[in-house]
């Protein structure tokens, strides 16, 4: 980086923000060099999103100030942020599905009561931007018809069209295949080359190392370090994020697979909403192995998990679990599956696996609320439920250890630990696990991964669905790749590499091998 007298594109000085008793940001200072790609990493709850929300005017800082290009600014809402040249690409896109790309880009910046002139101006601006930065999107396509990667490009175009010179991206690769992510990074590099400053918020250390020039680490509301990316390493960043040494690799021996526990033949499931479901997948899972299902979110994995756990009816094919053949004419239900020692850790813990406003003790029996150990025919035995919850919290180190606390009051990692403790407590023979570490802090990830491997070693058949390729590759013994409701690839974890899996996830692997 050349040291000129140019002021930093953004300077945050002494920013503090408190929500109730939570100090979300504490005295945070940060300089971001103009034209740089600057990464901000930190665990969930470290205060990254709060900091960016302050920069974008959603929240007001309790203390401290912001400078843009050396000038002190007050940002009270998103309009003022845009006026300062700050553009934000949210984790969840803020697009109108039924509008075209062009209409989405001018939305909120129409310029006049009549749409015509604004749209014409936007059209020429878009083609200029597309050429300059390699952001090609058909301006007349409906957003709903675009791939996720293309929708993200529309978000970036929106920001640039509004004159953004500072682009903030919040977890931009969460929904992308590795190839789409690479494409995004190329765009970001060309933006930076043209003088746009990029702030990249992520928890994926690999991305930070791949693309940023500088990186700031946040922990518990504080900025603990700002480093030149070239001079740091994954291990160092992870340690800074967590505050102690962490094991990034999962230590596990080779699988000792036994009998087949789950056998799925030509399974067909109707999709959620307008999406395709599952169109004829066949696979099996044996005792003592972890089978990983990789794929970009929304390619049938959710439906697959729900069907296997008895929640979602199937349309065709069979599911064979412990001698029971589930078919469309002989459907199953979650009760039966639990009775067959199938445990299910759903993908969305707070909306499916737990009840947010319930006390932890009440959430700790969800799914087993009819079990005889928790009461008689009519009444629930609350003392026993609390004792059970205590046990769960003990074995999985859930903090705070308080069975009466509202479920939503726990951090994501601790909610997940409570949920896992509940599902593990029943000595399952088949364990269905969806996104076990989504939104979970690194310390808890370590523990959850260890416990999953321990379950495998104890002879449990584990089916693991995750969109995190790292997780699949480090945990699974065998990997299936799903694309548009089909299994497009299968390989032993030992032979897997990210590139091959990524190509399979985008189904660009060549149709010849897709039948494997």
């Amino acid at each position: 980086m050349n040291t000129t007298a140019k002021p930093p594109a953004i300077r945050l000085a002494g920013i503090s923000k408190r929500f109730g008793q939570v100090q979300a940001n504490q005295d945070i200072s940060l300089d971001v060099e103009a034209g740089a790609i600057h990464g901000i990493v930190g665990e969930n709850g470290a205060g990254k999103s709060t900091l960016m929300s302050i920069l974008y005017g959603f929240y007001q800082a309790d203390a401290g100030y912001i400078e843009v290009d050396g000038e002190r600014v007050r940002i009270r809402n998103s309009q003022e942020a845009i006026a300062c040249g700050i553009g934000m690409v949210h984790q969840h896109f803020m697009l109108v599905d039924t509008f075209t790309v062009l209409e989405n880009v001018v939305l909120g910046a129409e310029g006049s009561a009549l749409l015509g002139p604004g749209l014409r101006a936007a059209r020429s601006a878009l083609s200029a931007l597309a050429e300059e930065y390699g952001l090609e999107v058909d301006p007349d396509a409906l957003v709903a018809d675009l791939t996720v990667g293309a929708q993200q490009r529309v978000e970036i175009l929106k920001a640039l069209y509004r004159g953004a010179e500072i682009l903030v991206l919040d977890e931009p690769t969460g929904v992308l295949t590795p190839q789409e992510a690479d494409q995004l990074f190329r765009v970001l590099r060309s933006l930076a080359d043209q003088g746009v400053t990029v702030l990249l918020i992520t928890h994926k250390l690999r991305e930070i190392l791949a693309i940023t020039s500088a990186v700031s680490v946040m922990r518990q509301g504080q900025m603990v370090a700002t480093l030149a990316t070239a001079e740091t390493s994954r291990e160092e960043l992870a340690e800074l994020m967590v505050g102690r040494k962490v094991l990034l690799r999962v230590e596990k021996g080779t699988a000792d697979a036994g009998d087949t526990v789950l056998d799925v033949q030509d399974l067909q499931i109707a999709g959620l909403g307008a999406r395709d479901g599952v169109n004829g997948v066949s696979f099996s899972v044996r005792a003592g192995e972890i089978v990983g299902v990789a794929g970009v979110a929304g390619n049938g994995q959710s439906e697959l998990l729900e069907a296997l756990s008895g929640i979602r009816p199937i349309v065709g094919g069979t599911i064979q679990i412990k001698g029971r053949a589930v078919t469309p004419s002989a459907p199953s239900d979650p009760h039966e599956m639990r009775a067959k020692s199938v445990a299910h850790v759903p993908e969305d813990r707070l909306r499916v696996g737990l009840v947010a406003p319930f006390a932890a003790a009440e959430s700790s029996i969800l799914g087993y609320q009819d079990s005889p150990e928790f009461g008689d025919h009519v009444l629930l035995a609350y003392r026993r439920i609390e004792a059970f919850c205590d046990d769960c919290m003990e074995t999985f180190d859930v903090r705070p250890h308080d069975a009466a606390l509202r479920t939503a009051g726990f951090s994501g990692g601790n909610q997940q630990k409570l949920l896992l403790a509940r599902e593990f407590s029943r000595a399952p023979e088949l364990l269905l696990v969806g996104q076990p570490t989504r939104g979970v802090d690194i310390g808890a990830i370590e523990l959850i991964h260890k416990r999953l491997v321990a379950m495998r070693d104890a002879g449990v058949a584990v089916l693991l669905v995750s969109v995190e390729l790292d997780e699949i590759m480090s945990l699974a013994d065998r990997i299936l790749v799903m694309f548009e409701g089909r299994i497009v690839g299968e390989m032993q974890a030992a032979d897997a590499d990210e590139r091959t899996l990524g190509l399979m996830m985008a189904n660009a692997h060549g149709t010849g091998e897709a039948a494997a």
Partner: protein, 374 residues
């Protein structure tokens, strides 16, 4: 982390202070209106409270109204816990009256009171349950919105009752549509009679044995919601249907059951009015208790203790309001409706308006400790 500043405010702020502030605001606005039409608001407030609480008779009336409101408030609350907005308490109470009336009119010459009264109450509950179950079924199995169907069921109940009263249950040989008087076996004892029997002479009022039934229902509702497997299932469905499906709870079944229980509770209103006081079936005996029950449940935070307190408040407004309309000529019955409407507006519709402010106020004062949050 979250932007929810209120998560750490003490519980009593939401449970007690907020309703109190809301009611105070409602009274301030009502007072301004009273002053505007040229009456003294302080005097009006005095008449209202005195009229509702100033004598044993006044208290008796207040508690009598509160009894009906407890039934309908509990009814609305149970549906709420299942995530359903039961607007049909009025119709369920009305049809419940039909159940009570039919049982009593057909059996009161044959059975003694200790059999007849429980049977009549069961009849009321059963008919109310039916009137709640049908919209529940339509919601659960056919996807018809419960708000719409329960409103429509109020109208159907009303029309059906007019038909029944005018054509079937009317006392022969008269013009006003009410049934014959029940035999004394079906009469619930008055509170003043019961107290008199144990040596306390009090003024007579319509307060009767149904008051105890209402309190029993409160305990029962607490047990049901927070101690039984069914209550657990109802609350899971109410908070989160996807979690219910995951847990193997059938939301459709729970919705129908919850609506039936809800309707059954509303159906007990006639026990208080018909068996307790009028001793015959009248047209429109529900007097809006079903609708006010919505406000009672909202204000009482869907918890039986809160519902009793809110029912008492509305009992005071009903009874004190009647006295006020009597004593202050410029304040008509309609003005009382306005005042009750203001209480409903502030404690129901604008319920959450002041919540963030109040909670922030008390969160700031709380000591700041937690470092390990998040």
């Amino acid at each position: 982390m979250s932007g929810d500043a209120g998560g750490n405010a003490p519980r009593w702020v939401g449970l007690a202070l907020l309703p109190a502030v809301n009611v105070t605001l409602a009274f301030l606005v009502a007072g301004a209106i009273v002053a505007f039409i040229g009456e003294d608001p302080v005097e009006a407030l005095r008449i209202l409270t005195w009229g509702a609480l100033g004598s044993a008779e006044a208290i008796g009336y207040t508690l009598y109204y509160a009894t009906s409101l407890i039934f309908t408030g509990l009814a609305v609350a149970i549906a709420f816990h299942a995530g359903l907005f039961n607007i049909g308490g009025e119709g369920q109470a009305y049809i419940g009256g039909l159940g009570v009336g039919v049982v009593v009119l057909s059996l009161d010459q044959a059975l003694p009171g200790w059999v007849l009264i429980p049977l009549a109450a069961l009849g009321g509950a059963a008919m109310g349950a039916l009137w709640g179950f049908v919209p529940g079924y339509l919601q659960a199995r056919r996807g018809s919105h419960i708000v719409i169907t329960t409103i429509m069921f109020n109208f159907i109940a009303s029309a059906l009752m007019v038909y029944m009263m005018v054509n079937v249950l009317i006392m022969p040989g008269q013009m006003t549509p009410h049934s014959r008087e029940f035999e004394a076996a079906a009469w619930l004892p008055f509170m003043h009679d019961m107290l008199g029997a144990v040596g306390f002479e009090v003024e007579s009022s319509p307060l009767n044995g149904a008051f105890f039934l209402a309190l029993i229902c409160c305990v029962g509702m607490w047990l049901l919601m927070w101690r039984t497997r069914l209550g657990y299932a109802i609350r899971v469905v109410g908070h989160n249907q996807r979690a219910a499906l995951y847990a193997g709870i059938d939301p459709a079944r729970v919705i129908m059951l919850a609506m039936a229980i809800s309707g059954a509770l509303a159906g007990l209103v006639a026990v208080n009015t018909a068996l307790g006081v009028t001793h015959r079936l009248l047209l429109d005996f529900t007097e809006g208790f079903g609708f006010t029950g919505i406000a009672v449940a909202l204000m009482g935070r869907n918890h039986p203790v809160g519902i009793v307190l809110a029912a008492l408040l509305f009992g005071v407004l009903y009874q004190g309001g009647a006295e006020l309309a009597f004593d202050m000529p410029k304040i008509t019955r309609d003005m009382i409706v306005v005042i009750i409407g203001l209480v409903i507006l502030f404690s129901g519709a604008l319920d959450r308006m002041l919540q963030p402010t109040l909670e922030r106020l008390f969160t700031r004062r709380a000591p700041v400790a937690s470092e390990d949050a998040g």
